[in-house]
Assembly symmetry: D2
């Protein structure tokens, strides 16, 4: 599991004074980027190996709102890993004493070969990395 922090900008909130619903997906990207980096390789380096992990599905359930200048905590977990896809799960909390849960969500990613743009099996190095193996 990865924990990443983020400070909410003016540019993130809308007229209701709360984070725009679409911006949570930027937080999810930030979270899974750091999750992958923790495993020992950045997503950028995965791309350089010839693979991409485009999002095929995204979902967010909004419980409470992040407001301007809130510090939030993004918790990212790896969900189900299948032959040619994987899933990440996210919880975003307000990062104060009460730690209120703000949103939960997930993304599903296909494994795509950069050259052919075809969906392919997750490569061995990626599986090992995700399994925490060497």
């Amino acid at each position: 599991m990865n924990r990443t922090h983020y400070r909410v900008l003016y540019g993130d909130v809308d007229q209701m004074g709360v984070m725009y619903y679409g911006h949570y997906y930027r937080l999810f990207e930030r979270g899974r980027g750091e999750y992958i980096r923790d495993l020992g390789m950045s997503y950028h380096q995965i791309e350089q190996q010839g693979f991409m992990l485009p999002v095929t599905e995204s979902h967010c359930h909004y419980h409470r709102s992040a407001t301007y200048d809130d510090k939030v905590l993004i918790e990212t977990r790896l969900g189900q890993v299948r032959r040619a896809s994987l899933r990440f799960e996210y919880e975003v909390f307000r990062d104060d004493a009460r730690e209120e849960l703000l949103v939960t969500g997930h993304t599903v990613h296909a494994c795509v070969a950069s050259d052919t743009r075809a969906v392919v099996r997750l490569p061995e190095f990626l599986l090992k990395m995700l399994n925490g193996g060497g």
Copy 2:
């Protein structure tokens, strides 16, 4: 059903050359805004009546990618209307001869009173409007 068109900006696409996954939620907002306007009242005017419709859930399934400078067509439909919530459904197509389906998605909205921020029943004027009544 509302049909709205949008031209994809440089600022919408990412390094893969395709629309960033979170930006489709902006298209959904555009679609439902125009859907509501077609009923005879803008969302802005609903707010001025003392009600807000914050998103409680959002979902998107990505089939194909919109690329830079594509013209896309957003089709928005009203889904289930419940006591204190409603749902919109979206399909985004590439707006050319082939009309490929790019993404499908939905959003769920609570009905909230602006003064108390409490979830409340959909007001009569809104129900009538959504039912196409007078």
Copy 3:
């Protein structure tokens, strides 16, 4: 001169209820994209010819604010064309009876060869196009 219209989204405005200052640069992109298209070739096609026009300078002066659901009018003009750069100028108006001026701005663009990423002279086809010649 090109005139392009845009409807302000919830996702464009911030907590003050006005368009986020950085989002006007998206409007400028929209305006110059349409300006170039009017000349008979999209920016996308310029890229396919092997040239890019990255922004080297951007400026915006904010007079009045666009608010949620406003329809705005973006007026784009070509500014000075130099050997290896060009300039666009923008005015954004509220698109109602009073036509208030909201912001003015400009962007400067270098001409870059896609293969070498070196700054180069504006190619002949682009100069002709910009001069409205054949």
Copy 4:
């Protein structure tokens, strides 16, 4: 002077693989937010005192490009403080051994009373804070 770090997201870069020109203004907001916080009061708290500092002018000069996954360093300085306005200056560097300068920019802010939305003198508490006084 404040130094703040930021990791470039997929959602920040465009088709050229570099940060979208308008997104640097989000970095500037992040920088000045932290600059103000360093003085002992967040911008949020300034708003709660009844004052807003809307941007009246923004400028950015692009020297080199931030690319996906780059860590960047935002340096923010206070510029000229006038009766009813103030200016911030920014430099963004790639945060690696070479520390290349990527962009320079500035923003000018009016001091506005929240209740009347009129431009007013900078209040005493803000001047003291900006002067590093007590």
